[in-house]
Symmetry: C2
Subunit: 232 residues, 2 copies
Amino acid sequence: MPKFVSEFPIFSVTVDLVVLTIRDGVFSVLVIRRGEKPYAGRLALPGGFTQEREDIEDAAYRELKEEAGIGKGDVHLEQLQTFGAPRRDPRSRVVSVAWLALGADLPDPVAGSDAAAAEFRPVDEVLGSASPLAFDHADILSVGVERARSKLEYTGAAANYCPPEFTVGELRSVYEAVWGVELDPANFHRKVTRAEGFLSETGENTTRGGGRPAKLFRGSPRARLNPPILRD
Amino acid sequence: MPKFVSEFPIFSVTVDLVVLTIRDGVFSVLVIRRGEKPYAGRLALPGGFTQEREDIEDAAYRELKEEAGIGKGDVHLEQLQTFGAPRRDPRSRVVSVAWLALGADLPDPVAGSDAAAAEFRPVDEVLGSASPLAFDHADILSVGVERARSKLEYTGAAANYCPPEFTVGELRSVYEAVWGVELDPANFHRKVTRAEGFLSETGENTTRGGGRPAKLFRGSPRARLNPPILRD
DNA sequence: CATCTTATCGTCATCTTGACAATTGTCACC
DNA sequence: GGTGACAATTGTCAAGATGACGATAAGATG
């Protein structure tokens, strides 16, 4: 039932979402189980078609809400990369704008909605080829994960994985989960507390997590970290 | 004469190019003078429509050739960002994938071709609002310039602006032109020659540029510079 | 109270950086 | 041939950042 006509080549534009968070200390990504062809039954990244008069960024937020029940204030969203190989979707010519969403404590998608089939899985498990993702979503995920990892080096992006107020130890555990390494607590503490404009003290303490009470901080996710914290 | 039909919303996909180089020590961008509406007579970034069965990266290379006479081996090309606001093109719904191209000594576009109206202009002049660029091309250029500047910090991208073999002084002048700063020659020399995997000596010397003969190096544009060279 | 756990501080050797002086090869010119 | 001019390259030194690791602090738990 064709409804649209054009004198130029026709493209569809979709958005695909790489939604990353840390669940129980494990760096995890939101995936859905596809119900329809092509790739029915396979895991895929959430996403969908951009509408006629919709900004692509709005489309990303809309899909985030529809497919994962995640609202605008719950995540940091940034554009990742656009994937436009001619055959990436067997049905028609589809160009996909991929987005990276980083969040803390994202709610489990609600059953009964579109999001029923959505769940968080460990990044390493999804990238390990046990059951490969649909379309070129494995490529998209790889790009997203690498971007997420490198953002920790030179920005305050780690705060996106934390609640609004967090301890230095919680922040360190973000680095450890995302990079898959262990960091020296004392040196990490010195580094981040001295970095200009990175953390601001709230004046409060907390004992969640046990041990000596820790100061609570607020982060500046957009801050540039200078000098950076480098991976090996 | 509509030729294409679809049951999904119709988008056109274009590529726009931010082509950067250094001309006479000035950080410069390739712009064209538009001949047609909309924005006839205004400066714009080179670009054009992606074809039906064409990879968007191939479209970027094709436009580079058609509009600027620049071949695949002449530049480093990487995807920049996609711009998809609903009204960014007054004619129809156009999503543009912007690309960043970095090159050394790019040839002056050849008169008589599509590229007749193309020329390099200083980045600062084009961004200074004397005659604003068409569409949202000023935004695209800003994003491209910022990406280009930050890539110098933590990669070997500066080598893309140099001939295949270059001196440390030539490399330094790239940083100075792109960042608009002056760097201490001695410290810069120490930094880049000691960075692992960044420069490789050719064994040759040159006296172009005057002064004491300088060693020639080859660069590794993809190398990660660790630790980075930081701007202020 | 003893012990466990995590936070936070201190120390020290090493590495990197910025500032700047000193030395080195070639070229142009007298 | 001698003399500057010029940019490349090397050295030096103090200040700052980093990694390794020991020491102390402050609650929770039994």
